[in-house]
Point group: C2
Chain length 217, copies 2
DNA sequence: ATCAATTTGTGAAAATAATCACGACTTCTT
DNA sequence: AAGAAGTCGTGATTATTTTCACAAATTGAT
């Protein structure tokens, strides 16, 4: 696409920038510098300027960035106008957390429907999202391209195959299983146990130096 | 520490390797090649060999790696014997998911206690973990170095300050807020809304090529 | 015993990302 | 009006991570 030159590391930070700019606007701020933004999002200010620069010259020297303008620009770039419909598979604790989270408020994504195997959950709603039986997957999934996977690891492969057959192109996988998909399907893994273990490992083996960056994703 | 040369990117993958090796052992496999491991964890086989090589020559040419040996090695390296105690702050949907997740089974981390402000939850247990009132934080947190933050964003800064005062050195932050901590405290952010938005962005702007790596964290 | 098939470990190269540092321009203060 | 302070955009550098590709060693089949 037109902007294939944007580094992936930058692309991953865009939603973060967007949310903080939104907060700033709500607070009534009209301008912001890369330094202020840096303090808020914990990303080096030079990195922020570099990130923005991929989209052209959005700021003004000696002034900073106009919040309204920047926000408008990102709204277009991040397709904030165009909402991506999402399906959630597995209404356990984690799935329920998602349904209640109400991402959609400020976001370009919206969970439209959920699936579970538990008959007590099927037919109910959580956070306004209807829950269908997992067997109805193929019937209800038309037009949906993104799925959140919050099911037991053992079922991950089987359900993934069904999702892929049905045309899903992006999966946010919270299962510890590393699922296998065709080349044209994108999977992002978020492995809670690994994250926690990695944090514990870093604490023991990488004592932080003064002035070392203190947070990361 | 002694092994400060290990790249952070490698360190983040270690828990993942560990878990899959564990699975292999349970399945009764005695040997494994970097190629097989690669298929399972979706990390390039050269990257896996490079990762392992930081710890010395763990494999054997023409043979691969001995599962038992490798596992034993990682057990020591990842301190699997030595359990890291963790506190969970905020027993909402997401917090409850963690408590029920039962990470600890195969892991070097264990959630020992949880805190919440809801009087209905205080005094109960979830997944065997006792829930205390958030006001008791200072009394109960002795000796704990790692905390999982699953509270509303607005309370993140205040609670973080209290955790830091009490000596917490690592925070797994599920709050959308980017918290501010001293240099000697490590924070890993997991921002669910950002992850979902980023996935949607990648789908629209980075169409996958054939043979492009198909998954990532 | 021989040889084809495997598979590691790693030097070297390539790709990706972060950071420095400064010229150019803007705003603010007096 | 002039100078000080602030801030961007970016060339250049440095750091980090991934990938290639192949010699060396091992295995397994005949």
């Amino acid at each position: 696409m037109e902007q294939n030159k944007i580094p992936q590391a930058t692309a991953k930070r865009l939603p973060l920038y967007y949310r903080f700019l939104n907060n700033l606007q709500i607070q009534g701020k009209t301008r912001v510098s890369s330094k202020e933004l840096s303090d808020a999002v914990k990303v080096d200010s030079a990195t922020i300027r570099r990130d923005f620069s991929y989209f052209g010259a959005l700021g003004k020297k000696g002034y900073g960035y106009n919040v309204e303008y920047l926000l408008g620009f990102f709204r277009k770039t991040l397709d904030q106008d165009e909402i991506t419909d999402v399906a959630l598979i597995g209404v356990g604790n984690l799935g329920t957390a998602f349904l209640n989270y109400n991402f959609m408020k400020n976001n370009n994504t919206k969970i439209m429907l959920a699936f579970d195997a538990d008959p007590n959950k099927v037919g109910t709603e959580i956070g306004g999202v209807p829950i269908y039986h997992i067997d109805e997957l193929e019937d209800k999934l038309d037009g949906i391209k993104v799925a959140i996977l919050t099911i037991p690891a053992l079922e991950a492969d089987r359900v993934t195959d069904r999702l892929v057959s049905k045309g899903i192109k992006g999966i946010l996988n919270f299962t510890p299983a590393r699922i296998t998909v065709p080349d044209d399907v994108r999977v992002h893994h978020i492995d809670l146990a690994v994250e926690l273990q990695a944090l514990a490992y870093f604490l023991k083996h990488y004592p932080l130096e003064i002035n070392e960056p203190t947070s990361e994703q």
